[in-house]
Amino acid sequence: MAQAAPVLNHSKPLKHGHNVKRHTGLMDWITTVDHKKIAILYLWAGGLFFGIGGLEAILIRIQLIKPMNTFLNAQLFNELITMHGTTMIFLGVMPIIFALMNAVIPLQIGARDVAFPFLNALGFWTFLFGGLLLNLSWVMGGAPDAGWTAYAPLSTSTYSTTHGVDFYTIGLQIAGLGTLIGGINFLATIITMRAPGMSYMRMPMFAWTTFITSAIILFAFPAITVGLVLLTFDRILGANFFEVGAGGNPVLWQHIFWIFGHPEVYILILPAFGIISEIIPTFSRKRLFGYSSMVFATILIAFLGFMVWAHHMFTTGLGPVANALFSVSTMLIAVPTGIKIFNWLFTMWGGQVRFTTPNLFAAGFIPTFTMGGVTGVMLASAPADFQFHDTYFVVAHFHYVIVGGLVLGLFGGLHYWWPKMFGRMLSEKLGKWTFWTFILGFHMTFFVQHFLGLMGMQRRVFTYLPNQQFDLLNLISTIGAGLMGVGTIIFLTNVFLTSRKPVGALDDPWEDGRTLEWSIPSPPPEYNFKQTPLVRGIDALWKEKTAGNKGMTPAEPVGSIHMPSATALPFVMSVGIFIAGLGFMFSRDDFGNAFMSFIFNNYIVTAIGLLITFGSMVLRSVFDDHGWHIEPEELEEG
């Protein structure tokens, strides 16, 4: 249907397209709706926050290096632990997970983009502005100090008098919006955009875990959204949801928080399971052992994940019936998790295991995560948890799961897909250095913390008395944290050095790629697949390779490709929400300046922010943008 235009270049409008909107430099990044570029944005932003959270961790560990240390004061320490937890979970690892999902999922399922590219950009920008808002608290009167769990009444305005917790509630609300949008987008993408022949049970495992994770996000994030709204209303508008004196109930907050908070744990770890399930088969040159049981184990974990929230509340005093039920339901999660561990081990069994950097991380993941898993089962036993709860034993447990599990998985995934994302291989030598320093530092930091907890050291203490036999173990822990920092610096060095090398990675740089992303160039062209591939089985590319084919069989003739238009609206909408959030937060403040007080106290700033956001929505609705096309002739040009 397309007639060849006499001259083809990117600046000229094509026949039936709208204007091709292309930007360069900074504007390109602000306006992009390309999932591959959004992935890179997520990676840099997540990496930045991961770095901030890491520095906070180092400060915490320096304070705890010896008893009665005075390196940090008590208030600052509480701000640091609150921000470390909040930053790492919401702004550090989740965006890096989204980076990998964005970079890989459309490629793995043979799609040209996600289902809603505009929403994808909006999700990123709301996350970024939410994260920036939260971190502004450091320079705007004090960071939140009630722990990442923000238990009431400590988090109410009676006991936390700075704006810290307001930054927490509003910052997370805005960032959470981005996560919810992202989750919905991936659900729609995986349901509707799989290549011909890719049935659900032929999807790569990472696509499966992304799918399930997105479903958990869809059901879990509304709970925290509601909780944050209630806490915001309590603090800013004087509502009484958690104010005891006015009939509120602080235990309600704990339920709401953990109904979100526990599934959140699986939102974090399931993608890591997916990454490991991609890396191990590739470097064992074998298909994933027990694929269907892996799929069902994932679904079961997600389902049970919603049934166990009260195991965070065994010492709240829920009574024996609740404690017994939640103990047993929690222990049950060990069963599907164990299935996964053994399936990974038996994937390697009989294979030809190659210890590249990604596979080193995967190999380190299995025993480390298992250790975090078994302490999880120990914590599930409520009467034993009466001792473990809120001690360093719990700190050790969840770091084994989140760092030993998720972060090792993310490092593995980043090394594995780096050539696909950037077209350059990370240095294997530096990668191995990263692995060994990081994992050694990790075990040094957290293994000893199990014992600190059992020996009576509670968590979230800014200092401790001498003569409690805590000193040596804390010293070891701090040294380990430094070593993890060194590992991270080596990784950053690796990234920097690699970025100076020319693009030159092969389509299938690990040689044994099994899934669709390895059938296209590294980095892929903006339309991903010139022709949508036909999927003829699980591990689609591997199947073609073993059949002696050079690449995928196309499922369609070469034709013009419909592309979404770049737009700055998602960015502008997020700026609007950011302004509205700040305005709302300070709506009750006295600025000692008539003008400032006037515009804040009358919600004028909030209104301006909302006007920007809703105005952008109106623009988006009124002016249709049908996107543009890349014509076959252009494809031939390469």
């Binding site: 004061n73 208030q75 722990g147 238990y151 400590l154 109930n249 602080p250 235990v251 040159r285 074998k286 298909r287 052992f289 027990g290 694929y291 010492t315 709240t316 005093g317 009574g319 024996p320 404690n323 017994a324 103990s327 047993v328 222990m331 049950l332 060990a334 164990g338 053994f342 399936n343 009989g350 294979g351 030809q352 295991v353 190659r354 299995i366 298992t370 078994v374 089962v377 120990m378 599930a380 036993s381 409520a382 009467p383 034993a384 009466f386 001792q387 709860h389 809120d390 075990h443 293994f447 014992f451 059992l454 020996m455 009576g456 203490v461 008395l465 409690q468 036999q469 040596l472 070891i476």
Partner: protein
Amino acid sequence: MIAVFGLILLTGCGRADLSALRPQGPAAETSYGLMKLSITIMVIVLLIVFSIAAFVMIRFRRKPGQSEIPEQVEGSIKLEILWTVIPLILVVVLAVPTVKAVFAAGNDHWNDKNAIKVKVTGHQYWWEFEYPDYGITTAQDLVIPKGKDIAFELKTADVIHSFWVPSLSGKLDTNPAGTINRFSFSAPNEGVYRGKCAELCGPSHGLMEFKVKSVSEEAFQKWVDGMKKPAAVLLEDPALAKTFKDQCLKCHAVGDQGISVGPNLTGIGSREAIAGILINDDSGVEGASVEENLKTWLHDPKSVKPNNLMPSPKDLGLTDEEIDGIAHYLANYKLN
């Protein structure tokens, strides 16, 4: 790893008066028993996983020149059933004693005539202990008769705290009115045990410690009698006595005088620590003498416990000499 593990063995399992690994009473024994059971099961699981992992990672390394494609195994239903059923059995083995112990821990002894009732109130950042049957209230040092069941009722005056004496029992939160908790434990042996607040409650959360003193039945009775007695002569210097009464007793109580807004000071000279955190130890190993600790505290309470609610005596207009005089008086105010 092995080196780290060795170091831990060298340091032992912690102090007998503090560690959950060295239980000194039946409640802590129950938790410890479940810990041992679960650790045993988990170590077995870990050994199996580690051995298989080590085996496959060594045995199935890709050899140089190896190029044939390994057999693409789909899976094995037998194996899947095996590693579903065995973990399920292990879960049952752990779940049965867990459920039993959960219900046993639910038995709070509050209506047991032989139990000693104690109402515990958490404050930022100190502990109040009220004995409703005896009509006495104390702070920071919980004195209990050995061997008796102590029935606790826990609540908070402000934010949520958590009442924890690791060597005697697991912890339970102190919630605001409406969600008040009850539980009980006992200490079969005489001794002093360290207690801690285990729920983040503000800047001085880490300093919100207390002691549990388990004493003989007779000593307990003597202590109760001493607590009930009206306070002796306040201070010998009448001017200082007036200052003490006008300033300190506006929030604190001694014997029958003053009010209990802040910690009750009756017999403070015989307590184990000042403000829960400055440990009284004349030998100087763990802390300083009572009087020294009182002086440290009274000269600048905020530097000992950041953000605590006690106004600095200096801000109330007390001179250094007055503060030292009051410290001297309190240090010698013992229950005999």
